[in-house]
C-alpha cells in the first residue's frame, strides 16, 4: 500500500519544475505586467472540527501570502498557506499552489478562460501519509447571446495523487452549462445543469483470515493469520441541476432563491469504507456521495455603513445511497440501511474594505440530523480574516 519514496520525490520535482516554468515566463513577460503581494491571515473557531458527533472543538489560525503577476489578460500566481490548530496540532497542514490564468476576449462581451494549476498539500508527521499533490485544468466560456441573455459553460479536471495512500488517489471531472436571463422587473432567472465525475483508480482492500494447516505440513503446525490485498476501482458520476431566482430590491440589495437537485448515476453501488481518515476525503467530496435536494434563500446588501452583508439559510435532504449506517464502533447495523441526513444551515457574513485593507467576519450554524448516530451533529463556526494589497 505504501509507495516508494522516489515517487514522492518525483512529485515535489514536478511542482518545482512547474513553478520554475511559471517563474521563467514571468521573468520574460515584459511590459504591462504588475507584481502584487497579498499577505493575509484568517482565524477560525469551531465547535466541530470533524463535522461529526465527536464534537471536537478547536481554534485555527491560517496565515499566508499570495503573489500575483498580472497583465490585462494573464495572471500568474503563487500562494503559500499554513493551517495551524491550537488543540489538535497533528492536523496542521501547509499548502503551496501555483499556476496562471489566461483570459481571451471573444468579441465585445464574451470571454474565454483557461487556467492550469498545480498544488501541494502537506501534513504534520502523524498524517504525512496523506500528503498529496494536485494538478488541475479549468476551461470556461462566457457568452452573451443578447445584452440580457448570458450563457456560461465550463469543464474542469483535477488529478489528486496521495504520496503514501493509494486508495485516496482520485480524478475529478466537472462540467456545467448555465443560462442566465435578466428581465426588466430586475429578476434574473438562472438555470444550471452539470455533470460531475469522481473516479478512484485503485482502492485497496485488505482482508485477513486464519488458515488452518494440517499437522506436519511444510513443517508448520496449527493456524496462521493470512493478509491479502486486493484492488478495485470506484466511479461516481453525478448529475445536478439548479434553478436560481435573483431579485434586486433597489440598487443595493439582492434576494436570491435557489433549488438544487443531485442524482448519482449509479444504482445501488456500495461505497467502500475508507473511514479511517474519512473526513479528509469525504468532507471535501461530500457532494459526490448523496442524492437529494437543497433549498436556499439569501439576502445580500451593501446598504449599511459601507458594509457588504449577507445572510443565507439552506435546507438539505440527502440520501447517501451505497453508504450503510453503522454503530459507534463502526459495524454496519443489520439488515443494512442507507445513511439519510437532513441538514439546516444558516450563515452570515460581513465584509468591509478600507482601501487596500480588507476585513471579513463570517459565521455558520448547522444542524445535521442523521439516521447514522455518528453524523448526528451540530456545528458552530466563526471566522474572521484580514488581508492587505501591497
Amino acid at each position: 500500500m505504501v509507495k516508494m519514496d522516489t515517487i514522492k520525490k518525483g512529485r515535489g520535482g514536478a511542482f518545482l519544475l512547474f513553478f520554475f516554468f511559471i517563474l521563467s515566463v514571468v521573468t520574460f513577460a515584459g511590459d504591462g505586467f504588475k507584481l502584487q503581494l497579498f499577505p493575509y491571515v484568517d482565524t477560525i473557531y469551531t465547535n466541530n472540527v470533524y463535522w461529526d458527533s465527536t464534537q471536537v472543538s478547536d481554534r485555527i489560525i491560517s496565515p499566508g501570502v499570495e503573489v500575483d503577476y498580472s497583465s490585462s489578460n494573464l495572471n500568474f500566481y503563487f500562494d503559500a498557506t499554513g493551517r495551524f490548530y491550537t488543540e489538535n496540532n497533528f492536523l496542521n497542514s501547509y499548502f503551496l499552489s501555483s499556476g496562471f490564468e489566461f483570459y481571451k476576449a471573444l468579441g465585445g462581451r464574451d470571454l474565454l478562460y483557461i487556467t492550469p494549476n498545480i498544488s501541494i498539500n502537506t501534513f504534520n508527521s502523524e498524517l504525512s501519509y496523506l500528503d498529496n499533490m494536485e494538478e488541475g485544468l479549468t476551461i470556461g466560456l462566457k457568452k452573451y447571446l443578447t445584452k440580457s441573455f448570458l450563457i456560461k459553460t465550463g469543464i474542469k479536471g483535477i488529478n489528486k495523487d496521495y504520496s503514501s495512500y493509494d486508495s485516496y488517489d482520485h480524478f475529478k471531472f466537472s462540467s456545467f452549462l448555465q443560462l442566465n436571463k435578466f428581465f426588466k422587473t430586475q429578476i434574473t432567472l438562472r438555470g444550471t445543469v452539470g455533470f460531475n465525475y469522481l473516479y478512484f483508480p485503485h482502492i485497496i482492500e485488505t482482508q485477513q483470515y486464519i488458515q488452518v494447516f494440517p499437522i506436519g505440513r511444510r513443517g508448520r503446525n496449527g493456524t496462521e493469520m493470512i493478509t491479502e490485498e486486493s484492488s478495485y476501482t470506484l466511479s461516481l458520476p453525478i448529475f445536478y441541476s439548479t434553478l436560481r431566482l435573483a431579485q434586486s430590491v433597489g440598487t443595493l440589495t439582492g434576494l436570491v432563491l435557489e433549488y438544487s437537485y443531485r442524482k448519482k448515476l449509479v444504482e445501488d453501488k456500495v461505497i467502500p469504507d475508507m473511514s479511517e481518515d474519512e473526513w479528509i476525503l469525504t468532507k471535501m467530496n461530500d457532494d459526490f456521495f448523496w442524492d437529494g435536494s437543497r433549498y436556499s434563500i439569501a439576502l445580500k446588501s451593501t446598504k449599511f455603513f459601507g458594509l457588504t452583508t449577507a445572510v443565507e439559510f439552506s435546507y438539505f435532504s440527502k440520501l447517501y445511497e451505497g453508504i450503510f449506517i453503522r454503530d459507534l464502533v463502526g459495524e454496519i447495523i443489520q439488515p443494512g440501511e442507507y445513511r439519510k441526513d437532513t441538514m439546516y444551515q444558516g450563515t452570515f457574513s460581513i465584509m468591509k474594505s478600507f482601501g487596500r485593507l480588507n476585513v471579513y467576519l463570517k459565521g455558520i450554524y448547522r444542524d445535521n440530523s442523521s439516521n447514522d448516530d455518528f453524523f448526528d451533529y451540530n456545528l458552530f463556526t466563526i471566522m474572521g480574516g484580514i488581508d492587505y494589497n501591497f
Partner: protein, 148 residues
C-alpha cells in the same frame, strides 16, 4: 536638408505619440462622485494606447446623464450584468467623451454585491484572487478550506 527633414519627421512622430495619449485616462481624486442608474450597454474596449482590454459599462443615470464607465481589466469583473440592471458607481468624473460623461470606477455595487476596484488614490486593486471563474467558484477559498 536631410537633417531638417529628419527633425520634421521626428517632431511629427512625437506629436503623433502625444496625440495617442488619451488625456482622460488618469484618476483625479478631486473629482470623485457617485452615480446611480440603469445599464444600457457593456463591452470590452481597448484603452491606454490600445495596450489593455478594459471592461466598460454604459449607464443612463437617474439624473438623465449618459455615462461611460471605465471599470477594470476584462477578467476581473466578476458580476454577471445585463442591460436594464440597476447599478451604483463611485468613481472619478474626468470629463466628457463624445456624448458621454467619462467615469473611472472606484467601486461598483450591483444587487447587494460590491466590487472594490481602486484605492482612494485611484491605484488599481485588481488581483487574481477575486475574479469570476466562470461558474467554478474562486481558485481557492481562503479561511474555509475543507474544515470549518
Amino acid at each position: 536638408m536631410m537633417r531638417r527633414f529628419l527633425i520634421i519627421i521626428l517632431i511629427f512622430f512625437n506629436l503623433t505619440l502625444f496625440a495617442e495619449v488619451n488625456k482622460f485616462h488618469f484618476y483625479d481624486i478631486k473629482k470623485v462622485r457617485t452615480v446611480e442608474g440603469k445599464i444600457t450597454d457593456f463591452r470590452i474596449e481597448k484603452v491606454y494606447k490600445r495596450r489593455s482590454s478594459f471592461f466598460f459599462i454604459y449607464i443612463d443615470s437617474k439624473d438623465g446623464e449618459k455615462i461611460k464607465i471605465e471599470v477594470c481589466p476584462q477578467w476581473y469583473f466578476s458580476q454577471d450584468i445585463a442591460k436594464g440592471m440597476k447599478i451604483r458607481v463611485k468613481g472619478s468624473d474626468i470629463g466628457e467623451e463624445e456624448k458621454y460623461r467619462y467615469l473611472i470606477a472606484k467601486e461598483i455595487e450591483v444587487r447587494g454585491d460590491k466590487l472594490i476596484l481602486r484605492d482612494k488614490f485611484g491605484f488599481p486593486l485588481w488581483r487574481g484572487k477575486n475574479p469570476h471563474k466562470i461558474g467554478f467558484g474562486n481558485r481557492k477559498r481562503r479561511g474555509r478550506g475543507g474544515k470549518e
